[in-house]
Point group: C2
Chain length 257, copies 2
């Protein structure tokens, strides 16, 4: 069983990628919708929530946990590993940073929530891998609500893409990390704006590939796959959103932490 | 001591109105920023959070509690009154509805979050006061993030005001209730778009006036006013936002519920 958690529905882009590549896999996904979003919360609070979320998926049988949330990946990995030393944890930061470094000689762009960008985590990880690279970051706080409204191709979204990304385009970044699990829905608009020379990196793809390499056995097709989606707060609105994103009928289980 | 609580910073528009009219008043405000926003959460979850928030302000000495949050006002008033029968609670819904009814002969417009609009609470309250009035509602989920980004006069905000409010303007509503505590920051844009004939109702003003009528003694100037602003999650970003909105230096206390 693979465990995944996120502050809300955003991490479902990782689930989407997981079942696209490995349709018969066993997984349990927890979205902490009752306390969503984590983006502007303190490190201490995010750590506490992450530990509670991890406990839920580990209790359900997860042998590897994907932290499908950029905020928790940037603030809570050390705490998670210290609390559950027997479980491997994989955040969404490092796999994406590795792809960006492989594709860039001079500069890497990063977009994310205010908290992720403010933490400087991508810069830190990219520079560990290649100290010569420049890292240019930009917080894009309106992208999450625009994605949640399904405005993937809207005129307003195009204006915000232009406004947020213009400084990165002008500085000729060679790759651009989508440092928030919601952002893959904006990937077509972002790629069009940034142009063909810029490699746009979707962290959902990157983390699924890396997890499979860490423990290929977990990614084998199960005879009767157990695929659980749970939220700490459930509603018709969330079920509809999840169903639309995953393109199948979802009725989420209510998780009590 | 007057108590106020909200899911986050939005209710500070009520504090702003309170100290504008009664600068020397004693109050304690709790913003539940660790669990913000409530807008898409279930009734059960919102009730539980509201009770915890009320306990905090009552323990601090509040003799009257303003529920400065539309979601909690629409979902949790009965639960709050049952749990704390000795404390008067005042939500933001009814005072605004009363002003709208006084200003309208045929139809009232309401804007709010998806949860507030979906609850149908404004329609219910307006129709109790005058069953002949038509109530036209519109959910405006992007207004809260636009306000939190400080984009009060932005081109993107103008486009969203136009898109959300056009159906209400076309149907000639006579009054428009701003059914979310964040929205007063958009009042100038909204008034310009709706035109002079439409009375735009700010629920912060309405609830402060009504609370003062309920218990005028609490609104007297205190010799050394105790004015507390507490958040369940504190950060520099939130302090900056609160300071900007209230136009004075705020360092919020960290509340542990």
């Amino acid at each position: 069983m693979i465990g995944l958690f996120d502050s809300g529905v955003g991490g479902l882009t990782v689930v989407k990628e997981l079942v696209r590549k490995y349709p018969g896999v066993d997984f349990v996904y927890l979205g902490d919708t009752a306390r969503y979003p984590y983006g502007n919360k303190s490190k201490e609070t995010v750590e506490r929530y992450a530990v509670e979320n991890a406990k839920f998926v580990i209790d359900r049988g997860a042998k590897l946990v994907i932290v499908a949330c950029n905020t928790a990946s940037s603030l809570a990995m050390d705490t998670l590993r210290a609390k559950y030393p027997d479980t491997p944890f994989l955040g969404v930061i490092k796999p994406a940073a590795e792809l960006a470094v492989a594709d860039s000689k001079k500069s890497v762009g990063v977009v994310g929530t205010r908290a992720t960008v403010g933490s400087g985590i991508y810069e830190e990880v990219v520079k560990e891998l290649n100290p010569k690279l420049k890292v240019l970051q930009k917080a894009c706080p309106l992208f999450v609500p625009l994605v949640e409204e399904g405005m993937f191709q809207d005129q307003v979204t195009k204006m915000m893409v232009r406004r947020y990304l213009m400084p990165l385009r002008q500085k000729n970044v060679e790759s651009l990390i989508l440092g928030c699990t919601h952002y893959p829905f904006l990937q077509p608009l972002i790629e069009r704006f940034m142009g063909k020379k810029v490699k746009v990196i979707n962290s959902a793809e990157a983390v699924v590939d890396k997890a499979q390499k860490m423990n290929p056995d977990l990614f084998k097709v199960s005879e009767a796959p157990k695929q659980v989606i749970a939220f700490t707060d459930t509603s018709d609105h969330l079920d509809k959103l999840a169903s639309k994103w995953l393109k199948k009928e979802i009725r989420a289980e209510k998780a009590v932490l």
